[in-house]
């Protein structure tokens, strides 16, 4: 073997070694992301993480690192199945890295140690996080610690079918001023009942279709409690305002008694409900800003603004007009090594940039999370996003992040449903609520 050949093989060996070193520095990471309540318009809840992964890989490449991120996306269309799957997966130490879920899960999940605070991984003073609306960041916090990054915002309006409103005597001008009248309390829930009745009496809609609420449990029903003067939380303690809750229960009992809402409304097939509100079979109903996307994209209601007026949830006795925002938040799940969680956090941060977040906001008709986002062309050019933001968001409440809130909610809903369907009288329902709240929550709840 000559010196040259020795040198040659040595060079070859060195080159081989060097190439393995390059391969060793390449990093392969799998990030799994789950989202709840994600229908066909909500794909960017998980897709945004994929876009972010692409950007992060490019940034790493510029720094001279090879980073390969595989994003595993699991969107769930419902909530029950999603929360069941996620909770049990987390208990079995098989949680995904990132999850997009309602902010109210932060309380119990943080207490149980299922999630880690996002502020441990993301500098909250850095862009784009420092640009997110402060009240949304507040909603993503628990015990003074920021656990999540808001993924979207929304609010929940009342909808009125304009042709029916005209048919019972409203002029165009009156319909245009309805949002303002609702806001200053001139048009109340009592008027809703009366107008719904008028629509039915005139034969515009079938009996039970005058007021056509959500067909299942949802944050929406807390709005009625708020409309009648109820408060959900004060100084970190849950609040049960018995009189306000009784008025809210009574309102639904009254709607059923007047025949404008069906007694068997809860639990009816969702698809049927959507078809009916999109075609003017219902007079007045309520929903969320994202209903716009479904009505226009899936239900074929192309001339939305000609047919539908939207307002805040009107006031009831003892309360004021309001709406509720129920932001989803990106949370980082516990049980992964710090480096992977750091990458997951970086992805969440990137996905929160205005242009990427606007894709979700506009496609799904949710509202943006930051001031800058409203200036992205896609967002500012969208009539629904700008009008809904202006009319609703300043009046939005949110459900409290409280580890015990879920229990309160379950009990509140169970008894609303019972008084709605007539299984219990309103008095019995509200008394049962009180009894059960006392028994399960003890002094974690203030009863007044």
């Amino acid at each position: 073997m000559t010196i040259v050949s020795i040198l040659r093989s040595a060079t070859l060996a060195a080159a081989l070694l060097a190439s393995t070193a390059v391969i060793a520095s390449a990093k392969d990471v799998t990030i799994s992301v789950w989202s709840g309540g994600s229908g066909p318009n909500d794909n960017y809840r998980v897709d945004a993480i994929e876009i972010a992964a692409d950007l992060l890989e490019r940034e790493a490449a510029i720094r001279g690192e090879e980073l390969n991120i595989t994003v595993q996306k699991t969107p769930y269309s419902g909530w029950e199945e999603f929360k069941q799957a996620l909770t049990l997966a987390a208990e079995a130490k098989k949680a995904p890295n990132i999850v997009a879920t309602g902010h109210e899960d932060i309380g119990p999940w943080a207490q149980a140690g299922l999630i880690v605070p996002v502020e441990d991984y993301i500098d909250l003073d850095s862009w784009p996080i420092n640009d997110i609306y402060p009240n949304l960041m507040e909603i993503a916090s628990f015990n003074g610690t920021v656990y999540g990054i808001p993924q979207d915002a929304e609010s929940r309006p009342f909808f009125f079918w304009k042709p029916h409103m005209k048919a019972i005597g409203y002029s165009d001008a009156e319909i245009d001023t309805l949002p303002a009248k609702v806001e200053n309390g001139e048009y109340t829930l009592k008027n809703v009942l009366e107008d719904a009745k008028k629509m039915q009496d005139k034969g515009l809609v079938q009996p039970g279709y005058g007021f056509y609420p959500r067909t299942s449990n949802g944050p929406d029903y807390w709005q009625f409690y708020t409309s009648f003067g109820g408060l959900m939380e004060e100084d970190g303690k849950l609040v049960f305002d018995k009189a306000a809750m009784q008025r809210a229960y009574q309102y639904f009992a009254d709607l059923v008694a007047a025949g404008v809402t069906k007694k068997n409304h809860i639990g009816m097939p969702g698809d049927q409900w959507w078809k009916e509100v999109a075609t003017g079979k219902a007079g007045i109903w309520h929903g969320g800003t994202w209903h716009y996307a479904r009505l226009v994209n899936q239900e074929g209601l192309k001339d939305f603004f000609d047919n539908v007026q939207f307002t805040l949830i009107p006031a009831g006795e003892g309360g004021k007009a309001n709406t509720l925002t129920h932001p989803l938040t990106y949370l980082l799940m516990a049980g992964h090594d710090q480096e992977t969680t750091q990458i997951a956090a970086d992805l969440v941060k990137l996905a929160s940039e205005p242009r990427i977040n606007a894709l979700h906001a506009i496609k799904s008709a949710h509202l943006g999370i930051s001031e800058t986002e409203t200036k992205v062309d896609l967002y500012s050019a969208d009539r629904w996003a700008s009008e809904a933001t202006e009319r609703l968001l300043p009046h939005a409440n949110a459900m409290p992040n409280n580890a015990e809130f879920g229990k309160y909610w379950t009990i509140m809903w169970k008894n609303l449903e019972a008084s709605w369907t007539g299984a219990k009288t309103v008095e019995a329902a509200v008394n049962d609520t009180e009894t059960e709240l006392k028994a399960t929550l003890g002094n974690s709840i203030v009863i007044r």
């Binding site: 999940w109 991984y121 003073d125 009996p207 449990n217 949802g218 580890a403 369907t421």
Partner: protein, 433 residues
């Protein structure tokens, strides 16, 4: 003799192990879970100690001074913290700059302290900022301690010297995990809703059992017994269909029948009735269909058992009775029914237990609605422990509910054995070892 006994034990060992693992263990675990307040918020695998605002609220009544003293966050840039930072061996400039520029500064929140740390010239990463700010944390608020010892140690460092009783109280108020409690049974005992669900369940089991799983099954067995063999098999095959159809499809067919735009509504529309959801319109309708859906499935099993039992009756008895001029009714009353006591006991007992525990047909059809009217005990336990909209899974309460069901099942079985006089049904074996 001894070898045959050992052999018997060995032979039965796999089955015994299976029974232990898959039948007894779940019951034992359910019993264990039922004595806890386990839920989503407490987690299953244990908890930590965290002085949250809620924990401070809990402490306020018993230990107001301590609660007030630990209620606020406090971050102090002191020599002790800077020394600890030096020991971390991060960039040396960090400690030096803190000591030179910020010694003695006090911050009311972590965020404010971290802003100072972030602004240091050496710019630590976000995770380093957390590690550094932890060193200057001079309060226990919102810090998560993995052990009770760590929490008490931190409190001691902050100057709180607690007696054993106070330590106990603090640990109890700040613990985030589950604790042993009998509250679940108290909740079950006191809640008016639980009483309603209990009544629902009793109604559902009794009516389905009486009219379908035993009553209608018996009727089918008796009528097919008196039919020509070919016709009888066709009838029996038809009544087996609900059982062999996959339950999701079977229930879907009932939904098509009963929903607003389903067959019943279309049919009634011919007579001018507006369309309505017959399944969920009211509680009576919901019960009617829930019982039919379950009854039609349940009837087939009783039918098979009773038919074969009737087949086993010596035909001579029927011939003899006919010679004596017995009517069909008399044959049923004096020949068939007395000899069906054992199968009826079996079917009653078995179907009671399976009706008590089954909820899939109800979950798929009414989901317990309208307004929880058709919520039965097992479905309520499932909703409580494993599936509800708010995602608040109360494993402890759900397990307690399941345990109640187990106890009721055992009690009912014992009652049945007594009523049907089980001891007279079995004859003593003729061969003893």
């Amino acid at each position: 003799m001894r070898t045959s006994r050992t052999l018997g034990l060995i032979m039965i060992a796999p089955a015994a192990i299976m029974i232990l693992l898959f039948f007894l263990m779940p019951v034992v675990l359910t019993a264990v879970f039922s004595l806890t307040n386990m839920s989503t918020a407490t987690g299953i695998s244990g908890g930590a100690y965290q002085v949250t605002q809620a924990a401070v609220n809990r402490l306020t009544t018993d230990m107001p001074e301590l609660a007030a003293a630990i209620a606020g966050p406090r971050f102090v840039i002191d020599e002790e913290g800077v020394a600890a930072l030096e020991a971390l061996k991060l960039k040396p400039g960090l400690a030096a700059e803190l000591r030179a520029e910020h010694l003695g500064e006090v911050f009311a929140s972590r965020r404010e302290a971290e802003r100072v740390i972030k602004a240091l010239k050496d710019r630590p990463s976000t995770r380093e900022v957390k590690r550094i700010s932890d060193l200057f944390n001079r309060s226990v608020l919102n810090t998560r301690f993995e052990t009770r010892q760590a929490l008490l140690e931190s409190l001691r460092k902050l100057g709180f010297n607690l007696g054993p009783e106070e330590q106990e109280a603090v640990a109890k108020a700040t613990y985030t995990g589950w604790v042993w409690t009998a509250d679940n049974f108290r909740t079950i005992g006191n809640s008016p809703d639980m009483a309603q669900i209990f009544l629902n369940t009793a109604f559902y089991v009794a009516v389905t059992l009486l009219f379908f799983n035993v009553g209608y099954a018996l009727f089918l067995a008796l009528t097919t017994h008196y039919m020509a063999a070919a016709t009888a098999s066709i009838f029996r095959a038809v009544w087996l269909l609900p059982r062999i159809t996959p339950v999701v499809i079977y229930v879907l067919m009932w939904k098509w029948l009963t929903w607003d735009n389903g067959f019943l509504s279309l049919f009634m529309g011919q007579f001018g009735y507006p369309p309505r959801n017959y399944l969920l319109d009211n509680a009576q309708g919901a019960w009617f269909f829930v019982i039919l859906i379950n009854g039609f499935i349940g009837a087939s099993m009783g039918m098979l058992v009773f038919s074969s039992a009737i087949k086993a009756i010596p035909e001579t008895q029927f011939h003899a009775s006919e010679v004596d001029g017995a009517s069909r009714w008399q044959q049923i009353r004096y020949i068939i029914l007395p000899q069906l006591r054992w199968p009826i006991l079996f079917v009653t007992c078995y179907q009671t237990l399976s009706l008590l525990a089954s909820f899939n047909e109800i979950l798929l059809s009414t989901r317990g609605g309208p307004g929880r009217a058709t919520e039965v005990w097992s479905l309520a336990a499932y909703h409580t422990a494993l599936q509800n909209y708010t995602g608040n899974l109360e494993y402890g309460l759900g397990a307690a509910m399941a345990l109640v069901l187990v106890v009721i099942g055992v009690i009912l079985s014992l009652i049945y054995l007594r009523v049907f006089r089980y001891d007279t049904l079995i004859s003593k074996p003729l061969i003893e070892d």
